[in-house]
C-alpha cells in the first residue's frame, strides 16, 4: 500500500473502525497470552468469507458477484452493530453507514452520522462470553505451566520479595534458606499425606460401589435413588472443582497482567505497553461489576487519542482509584472489627479464630474488588503470599511501630493490655489487607498514592476509641 492512498469506507477490505478497545483486544489478546504471535486480524464473528477478504478491490468481479458481496456485507454489518452495544459512540459514520449508503438503507441514514441510542454505561457486550471462555482456556494453560511443582511456586515468592520496596534483605535470605530445609523434610510428609488420601478415596469408592450394589439388591427403586444422589454429589463436586480451577486461573492471569504492566511502566521504552493496556482493559470489561467503569474509561481516553502509557495512567487514576477506595474501606472496616472483638472478647482462642476468619474473608473481598475472586484454594494461597509478604517486609514490627507512633509510647503503657492487643491485631489485619491489595492490583501504584498503614491506623485508633467510649458510657 502506498502512503496517500485513499479508500472508500464501503471497501470491503476495511476491517474495523475502532470504536472501543474490545475489538482490538479480540485480536491482540491472544498475542498477549503468547499463544499465537500473529492472530488472525479478523475476529471470528465479524469475518467475511475467506476468499473475498483476500481479494484486491473488486476489479475483476462480475457485476453480479459485486452485488452479492454487498448483500452479504449488509447482512453482516447490522449484526455487528448489534453485537457491540457498548461504550464507543462513533462520530464518523461507522461501517454500517458506509456500507448502507449503497444499499436500500441509505434512506434511513442521512448525511449526519447517526448515533446508537444504547445507554452509555451498558455492561459488557454479549460477545464477550465467547472470549471469556477462550481466555479461560488460556488461563488453564497457564495454570498447567505454573503448577509444575513446589520449586516453581518458590520462585514466585522470591519474585514478590524482590518487588516489595522495603524488603529487609537479610531476613529474607535466612527465611529462604529455612524454607528450603523445610521443603526437604516436607517432601516425605507430602508423599505420606497423598498416599493416605489416595487410600481413603479408594476405600470410599469401593465402599460406595458395594453399598450401591447392596441397595440395588434390596430394591431397584432404592438403588436408583442412591445412584441419583451419588451422581448429584459427583456433579456438584465437579462444579466446585471447576470453579476452584477457574479462580486459580484468574489469579494467575492477574499475576501475568501485573508483570506486563510493571514492565510497561517501569522499564525504559515502555515495552509491551499497548498489549498490557489492552489486556487490562479487556479483563475488566468482561466483569459485570467493572464493565461500566471500563466503558467510561474508554470514552474518556479513547485508544486513538491516547498512547498506551497515557491510558495506563488514566486507567489507574480513574478506574483503579475507585477500586482502591473500595478496598481501603473494606480493610478499615475489617481492622476495626478485629480490634474491637479482640479487645472485648474474653477468650484468647476465640480471638485467634475470629481474627483468622475475618482476615481470610477480607483478603477474599479485597481480591474480589479487583476482579480476582479467588476460590477456596486461591484464598489460602493468597493468604500465604500475603503472610510471606508481611513477614518478609517486617510488617508486624511496622504495625507495632506505627501504633506506638500514633499513641505515643507512654500512652500504650497506660492502655489496658487487652486494648493494645486489640489495636495491634487490627493494625496487623490492616497490614494484611494492604498486602492483599498489592497482590491483586493489576497495575503497580504509580499515580495514585499508595494507602499507608499509618493513615489507616490513625483512623482505626480514633474509631476504636470512640466505640469503646460509647460502650463505657452505656455501662
Amino acid at each position: 500500500m502506498k502512503p496517500g492512498q485513499t479508500f472508500d469506507l464501503t471497501d470491503k477490505n476495511i476491517q474495523s473502525l475502532e470504536q472501543d478497545g474490545s475489538k482490538i483486544w479480540d485480536t491482540l489478546g491472544q498475542n498477549v497470552s503468547g499463544d499465537e504471535p500473529e492472530a488472525s486480524p479478523v475476529p471470528p464473528p465479524l469475518s467475511r468469507p475467506a476468499p473475498q477478504s483476500s481479494h484486491a478491490p473488486e476489479s475483476g468481479h462480475s457485476a453480479k458477484a459485486g452485488l452479492k458481496d454487498q448483500g452479504q456485507a449488509d447482512n453482516q454489518d447490522p449484526g455487528r452493530a448489534r453485537a457491540q452495544p457498548s461504550a464507543g459512540q462513533p462520530f464518523i459514520a461507522p461501517i454500517p453507514k458506509g456500507a448502507a449508503s449503497t444499499a436500500a438503507t441509505s434512506k434511513a441514514a442521512p448525511q449526519a452520522p447517526s448515533r446508537p441510542t444504547t445507554p452509555r454505561l451498558s455492561p459488557a457486550a454479549p460477545t464477550n462470553k465467547a472470549d471469556a471462555a477462550s481466555a479461560h482456556d488460556q488461563g488453564q494453560g497457564n495454570q498447567g505451566q505454573r503448577s509444575q511443582g513446589l520449586g516453581n511456586q518458590n520462585q514466585g515468592n522470591g519474585a514478590q520479595a524482590n518487588n516489595t520496596r522495603h524488603s529487609a534483605s537479610q531476613s529474607a535470605l535466612s527465611h529462604a534458606a529455612q524454607r528450603l530445609n523445610q521443603q526437604r523434610s516436607y517432601r516425605w510428609l507430602t508423599v505420606l499425606v497423598l498416599a493416605l488420601a489416595a487410600l481413603f478415596v479408594l476405600l470410599l469408592l469401593v465402599d460406595t460401589l458395594t453399598g450401591l450394589a447392596w441397595l440395588f439388591g434390596i430394591s431397584r427403586a432404592l438403588g436408583l435413588l442412591a445412584s441419583l444422589l451419588l451422581a448429584t454429589a459427583l456433579a456438584s463436586l465437579g462444579i466446585l472443582l471447576g470453579r476452584e480451577w477457574r479462580a486459580l486461573a484468574r489469579m494467575s492471569r492477574q499475576r501475568h497482567l501485573r508483570q506486563l504492566t510493571e514492565a510497561a511502566l517501569f522499564e525504559t521504552g515502555a515495552p509491551g505497553a499497548n498489549e498490557a493496556m489492552l489486556a487490562v482493559e479487556a479483563s475488566y470489561a468482561k466483569q459485570d461489576e467493572t464493565a461500566w467503569l471500563v466503558a467510561q474509561f474508554r470514552e474518556l481516553a479513547p485508544q486513538d487519542a491516547y498512547s498506551a502509557v497515557d491510558r495506563l495512567e488514566v486507567f489507574e487514576r480513574e478506574v483503579l482509584r475507585k477500586l482502591d477506595s473500595q478496598a481501603v474501606d473494606l480493610i478499615e472496616e475489617n481492622a476495626r472489627n478485629t480490634a474491637i472483638i479482640t479487645t472485648i472478647s474474653p477468650f484468647a482462642l476465640f480471638d485467634a479464630l475470629f481474627t483468622l476468619w475475618r482476615n481470610l474473608r477480607m483478603i477474599r473481598q479485597v481480591a474480589t474488588v479487583y476482579g480476582v475472586a479467588p476460590g477456596f484454594w486461591g484464598s489460602l494461597r493468597l493468604l500465604r503470599q500475603v503472610f510471606a509478604n508481611v513477614l518478609l517486609t517486617g510488617g508486624l514490627e511496622a504495625a507495632d511501630g506505627a501504633l506506638n507512633q500514633l499513641l505515643g509510647g507512654s500512652l500504650t503503657a497506660k492502655l489496658s493490655t487487652k486494648l493494645s492487643e486489640g489495636l495491634v491485631n487490627g493494625m496487623l489485619s490492616a497490614r494484611l489487607g494492604l498486602a492483599a491489595m498489592d497482590q491483586c492490583r493489576p497495575l503497580p501504584f504509580k499515580h495514585n498514592r499508595r494507602p499507608r498503614l499509618s493513615d489507616i491506623g490513625a483512623r482505626l485508633v480514633g474509631s476504636v476509641r470512640k466505640s469503646i467510649m460509647k460502650g463505657k458510657d452505656q455501662r
Binding site: 502512503p3 462520530f91 449526519a112 491516547y306
Partner: protein, 482 residues
C-alpha cells in the same frame, strides 16, 4: 544550510530595550502588587503560519468554558475547575479574539476551520478553581486565574530576526537564498527587475511599489511551496494587517550599490523604510506581546514540512531556531523577576495535526520534534525552564481504521478529506525513526491532505475529541491551579 542567518544573541534587542531603570521600576511595582492582584498567566501561543494557533486557542477556550473533563489535566480530572468565563481583555485597543465565530464555524453542520488570521487579537479567559495548596485554601475565595491569550498571523513571527540585522546584511542573506536552484524560478521576475535598475539614483514611488509587489509574489510562491519558510520576511508583506500600502511596506531587499551611497537614492530610501518597519512595526509588536510571556507553547507543523520534503524540514528547523532565540526562557524567582524581568519558565513544543497519523506513531512524532527543536529546547533547559514535547491535535478530526490489503493490515485514518463529500480512509505511511532519516527524505513521503472537522463534533459525549490537549494544559497550567 547555506542560508542560515547569523546567530542572534539571545540577549536580544528586546532585552536591551526593556532592561534598565524602567524595567526595575515596573518589576518592583509588580512585586508589590502581586499578592493582591488576580494571578494572570500570559500564555504565548507561538507558531509559524498555518501551524494551528487559532484552532488551538479556540479549542482550549471551548473545552475550558464548557467544563469538560480531561483525564490527564489533573485540576479538571479532580473536578477542581469550578467555572470559567470570558472577561474583558486587558488591552482595550486590541480586537477581541473571534472565539464565538471560530467555534460556531467548527460546530456548524458544514464545519469549517477558522480562516487564516490577518490581524492581532486578544482574549482573556478567567478560570475559577478549588486549590489544593493549603496556603491558597486558607485565603478567602474565589480563586481565579486569568489566562491571557493573543492570536496573530504566524507570518509576523518571522520578523523577529530582523531586529538584529541591518538592511544590507538582511539583503545579502535574502539574495543569497534566492539564488538557490529550488527558488530561482520564483525569484526570477523580481531579480530581473532589480537588474534593470540603477539602485543608487532617485526613483519614482512607482518603482518602489512595483519592486515590493514582485518581491511579495516571490514570497507568496515560496510559502505556497513550503520553501524557505524561515525567511519569509518581512512578515507584513504576506499578511499586511491594517498597514497595507503604507510606505513602511514598500521596499525590498537590494544588492549593495557599488561606490559611494547616494543619500536619496533607491537603496538608501529602502534602507530607511526597512528601519522604519523595524521601529514602528516589529519592535512594538514584540515588545507589547512577547517580551512579557510567562509560558509558551510552540506549535510546529512538522508533518506538513515532512510531507513537503527534506528542504522544508531544514527550513522549519532554521525558522524555529532563529525565532525562538528572541524569547527569554529561564527559571523565575521573585528576585530574578525584579531584576531581569519575567521569564518563560515553561516551554511546550507541540507537533500539531497529529490526527493525521495513527496513534501508534504519536510518540515517534514527538520524538522527531524533540530532535528538530533540540537547540532552542536545550537553551531553555540550560536556563532553567521546564521543557516538554508532545504530539497535539487540538481538534481531532479523524478516526482509526485498519485496512487489509494482500494479507497485511495497515493502520489508516478516516475522515472528511477536503473536497470529497464522503469520509474516506487514508493511509498516511510511516514516519522515520530519526530526524536524520527525515532530512534524507522519506522514500514514500507522507502525502499531504487536509481533513475537515467532522460534523456533529459537539455531540461527542466527552467533549471535543483531541490528542494531547489535556497533557498540554496540565503542563502549562497545572501548577498554577494547584
Amino acid at each position: 544550510m547555506e542560508t542560515a542567518p547569523p546567530l542572534l544573541h539571545s540577549a536580544s534587542v528586546l532585552q536591551r530595550s526593556s532592561a534598565g531603570l524602567g524595567a526595575l521600576v515596573s518589576g518592583v511595582r509588580e512585586q508589590i502588587t502581586a499578592p493582591f492582584a488576580e494571578p494572570t498567566l500570559r500564555l504565548g501561543v507561538t507558531g509559524l503560519s498555518r501551524s494551528g494557533k487559532t484552532v488551538f486557542i479556540t479549542a482550549l477556550v471551548h473545552n475550558i468554558l464548557t467544563g469538560r473533563r480531561f483525564p490527564l489535566f489533573q485540576a479538571s480530572a479532580q473536578g477542581r475547575l469550578t467555572a470559567a468565563v470570558l472577561r474583558p481583555q486587558p488591552n482595550l485597543d486590541l480586537p477581541r479574539f473571534a472565539y464565538e465565530a471560530n467555534i460556531d464555524g467548527l460546530l456548524s453542520p458544514q464545519p469549517l476551520w477558522p480562516e487564516s488570521t490577518w490581524r492581532l487579537s486578544q482574549l482573556r479567559l478567567t478560570i475559577s478553581y478549588r486549590p489544593t495548596n493549603l496556603i491558597k485554601r486558607a485565603m478567602p475565595g474565589p480563586h481565579l486565574l486569568n489566562l491571557d491569550l493573543i492570536d496573530y498571523p504566524g507570518e509576523w513571527l518571522l520578523d523577529l530576526p530582523l531586529l538584529t540585522m541591518d538592511f544590507a546584511d538582511w539583503s545579502d542573506q535574502v539574495l543569497a537564498a534566492a539564488k538557490h536552484p529550488t527558488r530561482a524560478t520564483y525569484a526570477k521576475p523580481w531579480l530581473d527587475a532589480l537588474g534593470q535598475m540603477d539602485l543608487n539614483t532617485t526613483q519614482d514611488e512607482r518603482a518602489y511599489i512595483e519592486l515590493a509587489r514582485l518581491y511579495t509574489n516571490y514570497l507568496r510562491a515560496c510559502r505556497q511551496k513550503n520553501l524557505m519558510i524561515a525567511q519569509l520576511q518581512p512578515g507584513r508583506f504576506l499578511m499586511p494587517g491594517d498597514l497595507e500600502g503604507s510606505p513602511s511596506l514598500t521596499f525590498c531587499p537590494l544588492p549593495r550599490p557599488r561606490g559611494s551611497l547616494n543619500k536619496s537614492g533607491f537603496f538608501a530610501t529602502c534602507a530607511l523604510r526597512y528601519e522604519a518597519y523595524k521601529r514602528h512595526v516589529v519592535r512594538p509588536f514584540f515588545r507589547d506581546h512577547f517580551s512579557k510571556l510567562d509560558r509558551q507553547i510552540v506549535l510546529t507543523d512538522l508533518l506538513g514540512a515532512a510531507a513537503a520534503g527534506p528542504a522544508a524540514v531544514e527550513d522549519l528547523q532554521t525558522a524555529l531556531t532563529t525565532v525562538l532565540q528572541a524569547f527569554r526562557p529561564g527559571a523565575n524567582s521573585w528576585l530574578s523577576k525584579l531584576f531581569r524581568g519575567r521569564r518563560i519558565d515553561k516551554m511546550l513544543f507541540a507537533s500539531t495535526k497529529a490526527d493525521h497519523l495513527p496513534s501508534n506513531q504519536h510518540d515517534r512524532l514527538a520524538r522527531l520534534l524533540s530532535e528538530l527543536a533540540f537547540e532552542p529546547a536545550n537553551n531553555a533547559k540550560f536556563r532553567g525552564a521546564d521543557v516538554s514535547f508532545l504530539a497535539l491535535s487540538a481538534i481531532k478530526s479523524t478516526r482509526l481504521a485498519k485496512v487489509r490489503e494482500q494479507g497485511r493490515v495497515y493502520d489508516c485514518i478516516t475522515g472528511w478529506i477536503e473536497g470529497q463529500g464522503q469520509p474516506k480512509a487514508f493511509y498516511p505511511g510511516e514516519l522515520p525513526d530519526s530526524l536524520a532519516e527525515l532530512k534524507r527524505g522519506i522514500d514514500a513521503p507522507l502525502a499531504q491532505v487536509r481533513f475537515l472537522p467532522p460534523p456533529n463534533l459537539d455531540q461527542e459525549p466527552q467533549g471535543l475529541p483531541h490528542i494531547g490537549l489535556d497533557r498540554s494544559l496540565d503542563f502549562l497550567l497545572g501548577d498554577l491551579l494547584s
